[in-house]
Symmetry: C2
DNA sequence: CTCCACCTTGCACCTTGGTTCAAGTCAACC
DNA sequence: GGTTGACTTGAACCAAGGTGCAAGGTGGAG
């Protein structure tokens, strides 16, 4: 057996790193940001419970979808304390992520279509072009995705 | 007449800022990044030729499409020295931007669809989920056609 | 008890796209 | 020539999402 048991009920940060594929520095960062939590040993070392593994998986999947850590933190706050999401909770949060993805897709499609028009008109005239004059000034505030 | 002529053939940074709607600090930044250029007066002040106005418009439209300044700089390097893009050149560059937009849209759609599958399966299991394994690492040596 | 791998902390640094500030200079008008 | 607003520079700072390092502490095996 190895030196820090790999079958213990709790994980060290290094073990969590290996098993999740996430660098330990990132895990410490997530903890500072309040996305995951750990217990401390007498000697001040982190010990993670097994459900944190699922929590980290959730975080990485969400990030891969382009969700910010701030929004992920908001989502995780909706879950029971320190628990990994159940299947139903995961499905419910994923629904928000889907709405967000669809909104981003729609936005890009809108831009693409306006660009197509714009190529035809060759405008670039700063006063008249829709692309040059972003009307939707409000679109850039808050933690973006996830305004509940 | 105002203090710095607003009808001169060259523009000061403040005039360019007002006419383009881009903060002077951003214009200086673009110049440091090599996206726009200026002549200097004896007293070391910037003077922009009028075509820079169109160049800045091009930059802002491109940014609005989600193109990075680095990519915009590459695009602008394809143009004649210090000239604003002609209509044809603008159309030709815009085609690249369209390809880029379509690629981003396709990527988001792929993620959305995989998320939809994933919600059904409730996997989150780190070893088998496609969303959790961006590089297809797990897909190769798994039990065959089993996906998700 | 020793050894050594692993852990702890804080701090500095990276990228992108800028903003803000302080100190000093230029140019136009009177 | 003097006033005043616009201009110049570098440096510091912001957000996000981390990485890397140095100095020192922990903990399990032998």
């Amino acid at each position: 057996m190895s030196h820090l048991s790999s079958s213990a009920s709790e994980l060290t940060v290094g073990e969590l790193s290996k098993r999740s594929g996430v660098p330990a520095s990132a895990l410490r960062f997530y903890e500072r940001q309040g996305l995951i939590h750990s217990r401390r040993t007498n000697g001040n070392q982190r010990r993670y419970s097994r459900e944190v593994l699922r929590r980290v998986a959730f975080i990485r999947v969400s990030q891969r979808l382009g969700i910010s850590l701030a929004a992920i933190r908001c989502a995780l706050k909706l879950l029971p304390d320190g628990q990994a999401p159940t299947t139903e909770e995961w499905a419910s949060i994923s629904h928000y992520w889907q709405v967000d993805l669809n909104a981003r897709i729609a936005k890009l499609e809108g831009l693409r279509d306006r660009l197509a028009e714009c190529i035809g008109c060759g405008c670039m005239s700063l006063g008249t072009c829709e692309l040059a004059n972003p009307d939707d000034v409000a679109a850039k505030h808050g933690p973006g995705a996830f305004r509940l």
